[in-house]
Symmetry: C5
Subunit: 352 residues, 5 copies
């Protein structure tokens, strides 16, 4: 939740990794393709990987782990990536953004997973002329697997078009995953809404609060995506060809749809919180009303009983002849009459 | 309510239909007209339909059902519609938008129905040179019937003007239907407001909550319309002629009026929710006050009765000669005096 | 409150009147003037009116009633007013707006009256070269009387300047009337504020709610005026001469002042609603506290009375010799001591 | 608080004074200076004043009172001030604004005083070529005295620079006075905040409400200042020389600082209101809890006393031999045990 | 918290220091460097310092204390700093801003420290051609130490690049320190959140209120930084070379990240305040419910006891033979049955 450990005072462009998983070796997976051919290899060593690169094909190097700062630096030096960009790539607290440099453009994004709670993984896509280098946190999940499959099978446009379309496809995959998360959250909102109507409990409220928190963080990840795509569309780089523009417009549209839905969910959750609070308060009030009514019914008749418990030496209801016989019954009649009339009155006023 | 089933990972431009009604055959209705002539036919087959098209007239092909993905793809191929556009047309979760391509422009909108609850149907209007192709969900209702009638009868400008005016007329019909919905909602708000003043119940609150929810979804459908019309007005396409601009300005205006009314209703509903909560709380407080006052009146006199129920061997009010005769009456006088003075006090303080 | 009866599906440019008053004949009042001369006539027939028009003077035709759709259409045909403009003029639900056409510009506004509740009347001002045609609902009130008088008396600039200044003067009259309404509302807010401090009742709250509602509708009428004047200032029409621009700047300024005041009143009313709710809740709490304190004082002493009402055969306070004489007094001492100490304690804690 | 008496319907450019103080004669104070010389005179007559004007020096005429409408009109005619400007100068409800005309520019501002409550005075500064004419309400206070002194003493830049710098200095004096007011309000907020923590009373709340109201009005006066300075900076008038631009940037900055502080205070006051309401509610709840606990402790033991007050002929605790001796003590033991265990239970639960 | 002591009425450009620490001598530390050489010296005298300046190297003069107004004025005169800039440098209430003058540009910022409460120190960085002069409050802390070290050690780019990069590095250091503060605040929010779930107390609420206040002030310091960097990027000054632009873009990005986090924390704190209030209210309601239930259970049975304490001469339950033997037991059975059935009822209704 909180941006942990920032490298205050370190010179700009210093690579510092902030994530948790630090032990594994970093895997480099190289995919090279054109409309007819397709090569896929995996390496654990940069120079070995670079030996296999064929500059006539579209190349995609995926770096599966960003904790190996030396490797990232080596990649940066080899491909001419600015040190500020490298810093952004390894800083997992980075805000999603798009930047264009002379020889490349870079998009840094948050891939989100929703598995009981929202988790985020940083993804960076660097687009060179004819090459895409993507960086993801170790064990980063399968967000790109679908695109890899499409390339392998030659399905869709990706094999026919250039590196810029590949970069677009990767970004599109990230935005698409947001829809999946929104769907899961939407389902949970519907379940919560039913709980709310049937039997709101403390647990409902805790879940509402958690959902609200998750919407705050989802929003923080999603809003900058709009700007990212905007900047990408408006960028004057020649790396992105006009034929890809139409696809960017499409992903831009999806981003706005995601944002719209996030805002709608926030509105819904606020409304549900209000409903919860008012229904809890109503329920409590109902309980207190019933309890108070019971007390209210018995207090006056207790008074009557108290009156005939007084020890005065002559009380006509008790000590007269009539009282001797009917007194007790008379007292009960009065007391029952009082109780019944109160119940009737409360019923009529719809208090019971 | 929730955007269901998104096709995460499918290559962009893949047509996937998300709606429910999947069984029926798709009807293609072709209307061809110019100022003097008018032809109307219905087909269940694309090529048959295309055989009847007369390129000298203004043509309107309405596709009544978007679940037949193959047909949509065939139409797209035949008329040169980009696969991203086709994807948007069949994706019923699409956000309203306007886009211009080289050979056509497309407006995707939400037609709304209010029949106890808000329901939406996706409508897409594709404008080519001299031709309009519109797509609607199966059994999509009669939104376009009025325009069809106007063409049949030669009423209004639609027969005299070109395809761009026809496209405008279709969009105008969608915006017009929002007014009908707002009117129905407005009526329900007025009824609710009267309920609120006379006798607010739990049902009132449930309805208020539902109305608020509906306003959230109405808003989500209506706000993008403004942008849609804006983009349409600012578009540099030559498909929309300057003579139609003045009509776009008019529908733009209507859209803003719809948005204004939606915002006004939201404000009204918020105010009503506050009124409801405060009136429920006041009512409950009134009940508790009356109950507490009853208890408060009887507790002190019960104490007095308790005092004269004590068993002390000499209590002057009881055991003196005077007490023997007047004691009981004296006790009643005191007790009644206490009760009456409390009632008077509470009345004066306006607590009763 | 609610936009009633919309003509869903009617072809654009169809004139449909939505107001209530339909019976009266429509009066056309023609005023012609230049710096030296002045002619004023009234007609119930358009062609008769047009016969009297002298194109060398500035002409002002005021149409007093817009329910006669045929007349409006005739006027429109005669002066070349676009059917969309005519539709806006007779549609009393129209949002205030300014539009420029080739041969005329039109401003549609809401005149407001505040007579216990807010009422609105639609006013339209169409400016041609050398002529102003204004439309108002029948019995529309005297908003323009003051300008008519100024023309009659030759007071102010209106006689010296052209038709564009006359149009400005009419718009200025509408904005000026908002100040009068704000003043009345301001007075009522002050009265309400005093009520709130002295003796808030349910009626106060009902009035607060009504005022809030009226502010919502006032706002809906006033906000578009800003845009109207803005569009008028930025319009490139040649009908409005540069000498009038300075006056538009002034009315623009007034509009912003009106909007500022409306927003200030909304803030004030929100604050007052909060004060009301908290003061009602405090008052209720005070009542409950006093009632509860009374009960709390008597319950313990009732217990003491109960103790000495027990029938044990030997209770020293009762059956001993000392008890025989002092027991009753002793019980009273204890009970009074308890009551007094509780009262003192509550007083010290400032609960009483 | 409320915009009083507006001149609905009067022709634009009519001078109507709305303030209260109407009796005094209007003083004209003339200051003429250049880098070396300095002349200061006071007049009660315009023509006399104009006789003394020396066009080679920078002239500053301060009009001390704007209720004498004839004088203002005479000044306007003499210096060529547009009647709309004159109208704004005497209309004390005017919104702060800047306007440029051909021969002069005018800034209308609100000087604020905070003396238990916020009071405002209208100040207008008209800048001509080489001359400043300023208008203030009668007895308008000493806002300009400091600048007068600086001119007299030849301190600061004001003597060296032209009329535009003088106009800037007057505007700067107005913005500076806002800081003084914010400081006073800040002090009161700090005092209120301490009251809130120590002992919140009804008075605290009344003061909070007043402060909130004052912030609403302060905001209404301060926000337009930003626009005023902005328009002044962007104005293309030649009356303001480029050397003065740097000073305008400075006063622009001050204005934003004032606005920031106003917004911060509003946030603080909102937070304090919430704290107040929750602390009042908590205090009340505490009182009710204590009262209810007292009742709750005595009700069960009263029941026990009631049991042994029953008149059954054989109750073992009473009529047995053991009961004869120990019964009473036994009853007390039970009752005390109940009371003590309840107190212990409530203490443990931290309810006491 | 409150902007103290403003110099109302003093001529613009007058230097007035508003801070507290006034006693110490002001230290001037001079650092001169180029890619190969590095000189560092400290002075307490301006002219002595200026004697040591070598115009062929990049010079950085850090003024450690701004209370010595004469010194600041001397520096300003020597380097040609405008008096308005000097005024801003010594005015510790200054809002963060960037301004460009002919011969220099200046950035005024707030360095923040979080040590139980938020404290701010003003930092000003003036960039000349080849020279940076920075001003900080006395004992201003070590914000710049890290940069000094980097220069000393020749680490990072700073030695290789010019004065503009040095100025950037100083600004970057300020923004970086905000991350440290946000991290500390984030930790405290997490602790508070746990407190809130486990055991919310009055202290929790006081801390929440304090955190909210601190966020208000943090926001006030951070928001203008965005504008500052924006203006710096858009500035047309030649003092900032294009090679530095890329670093400004980076710090711009960091600023937006800081602002995002501040807004997220505000949202979180608001949510926590709501949770706190609702949980306190729930806890109180639970207590009241239990107390009321106890009373409600004993009031009816006390009535039964009262009935059998009545003194009627013939009550069958007492005076009959059966009553003589079983009466007392019968009374207990009834009373226990009543109590048990009530407990069971309340349990079933989940009120207990």
């Amino acid at each position: 939740m909180v941006d942990k450990t920032n490298k205050t005072g370190a010179p700009p462009g210093t690579l510092v990794y902030f994530g948790d998983k630090q032990t594994d070796r970093v895997k480099l997976s190289l995919i090279e393709f054109n409309e007819t051919d397709f090569i896929e290899k995996e390496f654990y060593d940069l120079s070995e990987c670079l030996d296999h690169v064929d500059t006539k094909m579209v190349r995609w190097i995926n770096v599966d782990g960003i904790h190996n700062v030396e490797l990232i630096e080596a990649i940066g030096k080899r491909f001419g990536i600015h040190s500020l960009t490298l810093e952004d790539i390894v800083n997992t607290n980075q805000r999603p953004k798009f930047e264009d440099y002379d020889n490349y453009v870079v998009a840094i994004m948050k891939m989100l997973y929703f598995d009981n709670e929202l988790q985020s993984e940083q993804l960076s896509v660097v687009l060179f002329d004819g090459m895409v280098v993507s960086f993801q946190e170790a064990h980063g999940g399968d967000a790109f697997d679908l695109i890899r499959n499409r390339i392998r099978l030659g399905k869709g446009r990706v094999r026919r078009m250039g590196a810029d379309y590949l970069a677009y496809a990767l970004i599109d995959a990230v935005v698409d995953c947001y829809f999946g998360i929104l769907e899961k959250i939407g389902d949970r909102i519907e379940i919560l809404e039913e709980d709310l109507i049937e039997e709101p409990t403390k647990e409902t409220m805790r879940q509402l609060h958690n959902m609200k928190r998750e919407m705050i963080f989802l929003r923080k990840a999603v809003w900058p995506m709009r700007e990212l795509i905007n900047n990408m569309e408006r960028s004057e780089t020649e790396l992105i060809k006009p034929t890809t523009d139409i696809y960017l417009r499409d992903v831009h549209d999806h981003t706005i749809r995601v944002i719209d839905t996030v805002e709608t969910y926030r509105d819904l959750l606020s409304g549900m919180m209000d409903i919860y609070l008012s229904s809890v308060s109503n329920k409590m009030n109902e309980v207190m009303k019933v309890l108070t009514i019971i007390t209210t019914i018995f207090v006056p008749v207790t008074f009557i009983a108290g009156v005939y418990g007084m020890n005065f030496e002559f009380m006509p209801e008790i000590h007269s002849k009539w009282g001797h016989v009917w007194g007790y019954a008379f007292a009960w009649v009065i007391m029952l009459a009082m109780m019944i009339s109160m119940v009737v009155y409360f019923k009529r006023k719809k208090w019971l």
